[in-house]
Symmetry: C2
Subunit: 535 residues, 2 copies
């Protein structure tokens, strides 16, 4: 692809790559030559470029359903996508231009034919782990599924939109490519969530892991237990997600091929639940008396399980995805140990002093409850580590340790036959000075000792942006383009590892996000043709 | 001050301060009790609080000139400030409300009298290093200079604006409280600069150090040498500051009591200058032939000094402040060493192989040039370290080393009788995970071994936000509220060091910035009554 805009940017990047030692940072210098793949991100599995280029004009260009497409005008998901891509290509301002009888030039491309071939077009259903995300494009006639090749469009030296004849055959390396956002430590206004869903789609991220509640606040407005947010949200009206909000998020995501997997983490990380649901949490003791503080969910009361049954029945109805994330991480045993009723229960059950057995007791009952809702579940790795009995289709989410430790964990989980997701190297909330995206880019979820069969049990990974230091003011630039590095790792072929080529493409991809109104932060000294317009 | 809004926020902060170890960060936990000083930031030198409160209504409240004020209706700087503060107090939306004959209640405050007492009211002139920034407030009749006590206004439980009777006597500890922004590594649109000047004023920052050009780009459009930006900017039209832009920035700053000190750094950091000014930079040699690359400004040509004379004549006219920053940092001698003409000149001058003598030769000639423009100058510490002869009123800007090293440097500079500014501990571009504002808050520019006379030579400091990884997408949340920590260190009394009290006040101050449309990032898990509305 020959993009003059791209080349100009990259020449500047090359020029400006000398280190500024006022910052005393020794950075491995990247040689920023324009990539032969232009600004394609994530890189498709197969690309054949050609020098033949076509002009595109907003007045005559149309995206149309191919004759034999299995989805057509009645598929509103598809028609919405056409409109969105058209606006990305030509900009909203130019929609007013009408074709007043102008004849098309000899080398003008006037039609993008979209030919859906999969029998299930998912026009009205939800995306899933088994959705077909593959796509082929041929010169002149494009056969696409969902994601169009509009990253190929560039402006020539006169500002005219152009595209080079290009053949693409594409499919994702991993089926599960997620981003975790945390709306508990800080409330995230719906507008921020939608803007980031839009950006996820630009990066072929297909899972929004919504860590919706935690210790700090409970913004999910439950129809069954409205007191949970009434008492547990930062504010019962301004800092909650109503059923309509949640529905909007799910539909906005669906139209972009993104699954929404909510996480309701128990038995730890539940301080905010206790405010609106008395007796749900374990009372901690100081000596022989309750101290007034509370610990994890109380695992010894029947009322706890009654509550969970009703609660997860609602959740399974509200969130259509086949999976729910049940958390299960970081259970602190201190409070359980202090409570005499818990101690008595431990004796009765013969658990001795092994509180991980009590944790497993709770989790097993919870998993049985969720199983009745016919959902699959994802859990953080501790649940597996503690030996809880799990359904074979359980997803184990690995997040702990250093590189060696998480690679051992991936080996252990897959040798036990479970499917797994990796997040450890992708905790994007942990910031540091310099180009940390390179570390995120280099991590590979299949780099561990194991058989081919084990490797196949790795279904993907998630970039996590925990919310202690993140809210609407800084979330978007902190997430992008750092999460784009993870997106390419999870989409593109395993051997796509050239860091210089990635730097070049990602720099232009970042400017494309900025051009579309997303404040994606810079990788290094550089400029975008159109800088971000907000503050 | 008793602010219910403040208390609510802080209760939440207290509640949410339990660590989230998914992030494996061991953080010194702050005890977040509401401060008795409410949300005052930076903390005034003297505050006497009272329980007596008054209501404020937008329909009847007025800010007026006191009878004996030395500045009145003809002082547009003051009248502009009244309007700005009124909008901060009541919000733009409520301006429409008219006072339809409503009588004021018994405990309503209807008037803020502003009594300017200094003979020079600076209505039409520019702020300077010697501007009087002190202010007194008394119950009922406020005598203020420039910055009003609107941080005392809060909403009571019914949303009514209220203020407690409070006596404040205030003045800054240091006269020079600056922020450096870098518009070379990334171009910063004017809108971003203005929004941050507004925020500087909210934090009593009174110097904008504009690091306007550097190696990467030359966005300053010079009337005398238009080729500098024509060739050296990232783009000659979209990525430049025109004379009108610069004038607007200076006036916007002036109305807020902020000085604009431009930096034109030479002889290093000048790659972008060479594009539009042939022969300005030293040609580097590879063996006996020019390599095609260029080094620092060429110090051996008369044309260099002719150029600098004309250039700084323009700069001294365009920027009204009494000071200009001349840089002088990080001169790399490699290119000079390679050049046979430079070697010959070194021999002639008897410099031997000591290239710092050549650097001093250049700088001394430059300082003589700038002296003829009747400007004072600030230089980075290397110029002092290299023994360049300096005028007694030169400001030495300390930026290098670890704590011990910069404290030694402060001692050396002041024992030589020079005034100094500190920046080393306040390189805000260097980010790390967690509450790094605490480290910025704890640094004190007078913490070094020296006499009282030496300490008095410390006139302040600057927070620096270098631009390698910062542009319009992420500048504002990265700067605020981290720079607020520096602002309080430089304004408030030396013994204002209670980190818990600071956390409490700063948390509310940060929400106030958010309320005013500034995306200041959170300190920790928490919420603001009105979250940021952008993305």
């Amino acid at each position: 692809m020959s993009s003059r805009t791209g080349k100009e940017i990259l020449n500047v990047l090359l020029y400006s790559s000398r280190p500024q030692t006022q910052n005393r940072l020794e950075e491995a210098e990247l040689v920023a030559q324009p990539s032969k793949y232009g600004s394609l991100w994530p890189l498709p599995q197969k690309v054949q470029l050609s020098e033949v280029s076509f002009k595109l004009t907003s007045s005559s260009f149309r995206i149309v359903d191919a004759k034999d497409s299995t989805a057509g005008p009645s598929c509103s998901l598809l028609q919405d996508a056409y409109r969105r891509y058209y606006e990305y290509m030509f900009g909203i301002a130019k929609r007013q231009q009408l074709n007043k009888g102008r004849r098309t030039g000899p080398s003008e491309l006037t039609e993008l034919q979209v030919w859906i071939t999969s029998p299930d077009s998912e026009c009205d259903s939800y995306p899933s782990l088994t959705s077909d995300e593959s796509c082929e494009s041929l010169p002149h006639s494009y056969h696409l599924h969902r994601v169009a090749g509009i990253q190929l469009v560039y402006e020539d030296e006169y500002g005219a939109k152009s595209i080079n004849s290009t053949t693409i055959s594409d499919f994702p390396r991993f089926a599960h490519r997620g981003i975790l956002l945390d709306s508990s430590r800080h409330f995230l206004p719906i507008k921020v969530i939608l803007a980031n869903l839009e950006t996820m789609a630009m990066n072929k991220i297909n899972v929004f892991h919504w860590h919706i509640v935690d210790d700090q606040s409970f913004p999910y407005l439950s129809r069954t237990f409205p007191q949970l947010s009434q008492q547990g949200a930062y504010h019962p009206y301004t800092h909650v997600y109503t059923p309509a909000d949640v529905k909007m998020v799910i539909e906005f995501a669906r139209l972009r091929g993104i699954r929404v997997i909510p996480e309701f983490d128990t038995p730890g990380h539940t301080q905010s639940w206790g405010k609106g649901q008395p007796d749900l949490l374990t009372p901690c003791y100081s000596g022989s008396k309750p101290s007034g503080t509370f610990g994890p969910v109380n695992p010894i009361l029947n009322t706890t399980y009654d509550f969970m049954s009703q609660f997860f029945k609602e959740i399974s109805a509200v969130f259509p995805d086949a999976y729910v994330h049940l958390g299960g991480d970081e259970v602190d045993f201190t409070c359980w140990k202090s409570n005499p009723d818990i101690q008595k229960f431990m004796d009765q059950q013969g658990f001795g002093q092994d509180y991980s057995k009590l944790e497993s007791f709770y989790i097993q009952k919870l998993l049985d409850i969720v199983t009745t809702t016919e959902k699959g579940y994802t859990i953080w790795q501790e649940v597996f580590d503690n030996g809880v009995k799990l359904k074979p289709d359980t997803l184990i989410h690995v997040w702990k340790g250093n590189q060696q430790q998480y690679q051992n964990e991936m080996a252990n989980v897959t040798s036990s036959g479970y499917r797994t997701l990796l997040s450890t190297p992708w905790y994007l909330n942990r910031i540091s000075y310099g180009q940390d995206w390179q570390g995120h880019y280099k991590a590979d979820p299949q780099d561990f000792k194991g058989t081919e069969a084990q490797k196949k049990l790795v279904i993907g990974g998630e970039a996590c942006l925990w919310g202690e230091y993140v809210d609407a003011t800084n979330l978007t630039p902190r997430l992008w383009p750092r999460a784009s590095a993870v997106a390419e790792r999870l989409w593109s072929a395993k051997d796509v590892t050239d860091i210089n080529d990635a730097f070049s493409r990602l720099s232009v991809h970042r400017c494309r996000m900025v051009d579309r109104g997303i404040p994606a932060e810079p990788l290094f000294s550089s400029y975008c043709p159109h800088e971000y317009k907000g503050i």
